[in-house]
Amino acid sequence: MVDDEKTLVEILDEHTPIDISKYINYVSAPQAGAIATFSGTTRDTFEGKQVVELRYEAYVPMAIKCMKSICSSARSSWNLHSVAVVHRLGPVLVGETSVFIAASSVHRVDALEACKFVIDEVKASVPIWKKEVYSDGEVWKENSEFSERRLDFGKDDDDGRSGVKEVEKVHRHERKSCCGAKVKVKDESAAEIIPSNGVGERN
């Protein structure tokens, strides 16, 4: 366990743009050879309609708890140095970033896979909502990831974190080596075995 492992979770007030360099700097470390990031940005169209902006709101204390729980879950599945997750509230214009995730690790596979896991989990379980605003109306969006996950809410796992995907049981035995055989559990619940090529890193 690295002593200076760090996790940062933030929800920004309205009209506060995300300074991605702050979060990249946060996760940077001499020991970490890889930094993986994800940026969610407002698209200009949805089903042919012109999007003016997205407006975000959140159940802030619970959202922060959920995001911390997701980072915890990521740490138990991948060998991470630092993780940062930040989400904006209020209006986010086309092209602007609403959510940003940065993860660092010694070898790249951990940061890359953890980054994907975190955004997938944010979309499935964190109580944040966005309203899509068009020139002629507005509508609350719904993440399909939430619909797939909602039956799991309220069922506690061993760690009491309801709703967060159970990857740690699958990955726990893999922590020592990033180059060994991996069983990857997809959303469709099909298990796929990725064999080790025996030489160097897989990805």
């Binding site: 159940y59 708890k65 964190v126 109580p127 069922k155």
Partner: protein, 104 residues
């Protein structure tokens, strides 16, 4: 006893000790579409002691018929954690009505 104040909890007195288990008062939070449909960000709710989150939800649906539009797709959170509808609510709990989320 006759002459006592009725169901409103106005403060603890010695006689209230006999009644302290009869009802609980919780705070209900409405988000996103739920807030649009009720016109409220939050509301107090008093329910019989031992009521479940599901029973609270039913009471809310009755009090705010507009909520029925999303009744099949909301989840609830109790004290900032997702819960299922059989969870028992306690006094001063915070129950959040969570329509389908769309963060990220």
């Amino acid at each position: 006893m006759e002459g006592e104040t009725s169901s409103d909890i106005v403060g603890l007195t010695v006689t209230d000790k006999k009644n302290e288990n009869s009802s609980v008062k919780i705070k209900v939070l409405f988000f996103a579409r739920a807030r649009d449909l009720t016109g409220l960000t939050d509301t107090p709710l008093e329910v019989p002691s031992g009521s479940t989150a599901g029973e609270c939800l039913s009471k809310l649906m009755a009090a705010f018929p507009g909520l029925q539009e999303i009744s099949s797709c909301v989840v609830v959170a109790l004290n900032e954690e997702y819960t299922n509808e059989s969870a028992i609510v306690k006094d001063k709990d915070e129950l959040a009505i969570i329509p389908p989320i769309s963060g990220g």
